[in-house]
Symmetry: C2
Subunit: 233 residues, 2 copies
């Protein structure tokens, strides 16, 4: 048993691979939120009014606000939080490079749909983890509370210019495609994280059929969000 | 008496010019904080490490976090918060245009020294206001809690490269000069705000000698912060 796992550690953490996977997962979420802050702060520049700018900037701040508790937990688990985030910088940065919004509305949709997709994915994984880790993840994915703002702005813009709907629907599909591409890249690189889904000492795992259902649920919720925005998915 | 001042309004607010001045002041502080968010988020890109980036991004978020209560109070006073901010966008944006940091250290110093100067100035003015407004202003200027981080980083950099100290000392003087230039522009444009300092029905005002002492205190505290950073002022 490694020195950093005292005997009152949950059984799951006595499996070094589990510990490694949890570190990976928390680090990926933390870097995702830092990176979301950066992109939203950048998108705020595209805002057509000061009020819109403040709305997007507040979403950026809310994302960053979750990082502190993830950092603290990574340190508790004996990891250097920023070193743990390093392997996720490239795939997450790539996702953002490939999905740089061309205008304010693409930015809004990315904020709402992209954030929603990532949250659904992490919540699905969290269901297979020890309760403390699960609670931390769920808390750190708390809604930034601006869905209403995004939905209102996007629906009004489409009502004013129906052609915008077609372009934004394509944009939503591209976001989903890029997210899957990068998620697959992470899965191929991070053995512990992938093994996590297969289960462990005291945790049930996912067989292929269950994994398929998980992705079906994520896709389904993506479609619901697109519909909420008044867009085909 | 305007319809939006019920009888339980503090005496001060029964003076329409006082009300106008408080709206101006809260709006200037709010826009200053929105704008600080934007600049710090931009400076975060210059960060040499992910940890440094998160530290600056957290300062940006802390600034933005104060805007909500200022907006709420502006609305209570019967103002459209974003319209009230409009007159301050140009001078504050100009300040930032003229003080765009050339590197990470200039950005750090601007965050620490610039923020400190603005806070001192608003706190000085707050002393002449009704208690509710004063408390709101003081709370919205709460330290973003990252002074220690900035001081540590800057001192270490100067220790490693003493020539940096000379350049950064000049930079500190330029920040002070630009701030005074823009403050003077605001004073020339906003009569109510200037009249505020002259006093009113139930508030003492500042004569020229008192105004001089106020600026001396602000300059003094600027020098203290520069010394804290290991820089001449």
């Amino acid at each position: 048993m490694p020195p950093s796992t005292p005997d009152d550690t949950p059984v799951a953490f006595q499996d070094p691979q589990y510990r490694e996977a949890v570190i990976d997962l928390l680090a990926a979420i933390a870097y995702g939120e830092i990176s979301a802050f950066e992109r939203l702060a950048e998108d705020a520049k595209l805002a057509p009014s000061l009020e819109d700018k403040v709305a997007i900037a507040s979403m950026a701040s809310a994302e960053l606000g979750h990082v502190a508790s993830l950092r603290a937990r990574l340190a508790e688990l004996g990891a250097d939080p920023f070193a743990a985030m390093a392997p996720f910088r490239r795939p997450i940065d790539k996702f953002h490079e490939h999905t740089a919004p061309a205008d304010w509305y693409e930015g809004l949709i990315k904020a709402y749909v992209g954030d929603g997709m990532a949250n659904d994915f992490y919540r699905e994984i969290a269901a297979y983890l020890d309760p403390d880790t699960r609670d931390l993840i769920v808390a750190s994915l708390e809604d930034t509370g601006h869905s209403e703002f995004v939905v209102g702005r996007v629906r009004a813009a489409i009502a004013a210019d129906p052609r915008l709907g077609g372009r934004l629907a394509l944009w939503g599909r591209r976001l989903m495609g890029e997210a899957l591409t990068q998620a697959q890249r992470v899965a191929a690189d991070r053995d512990a994280l992938t093994a996590l889904l297969a289960g462990g000492i005291d945790r049930p795992g996912l067989d292929l059929a269950a994994l398929g259902r998980m992705f079906a649920r994520i896709t389904e919720r993506h479609a619901e969000r697109m519909a909420e925005l008044g867009l085909d998915s």
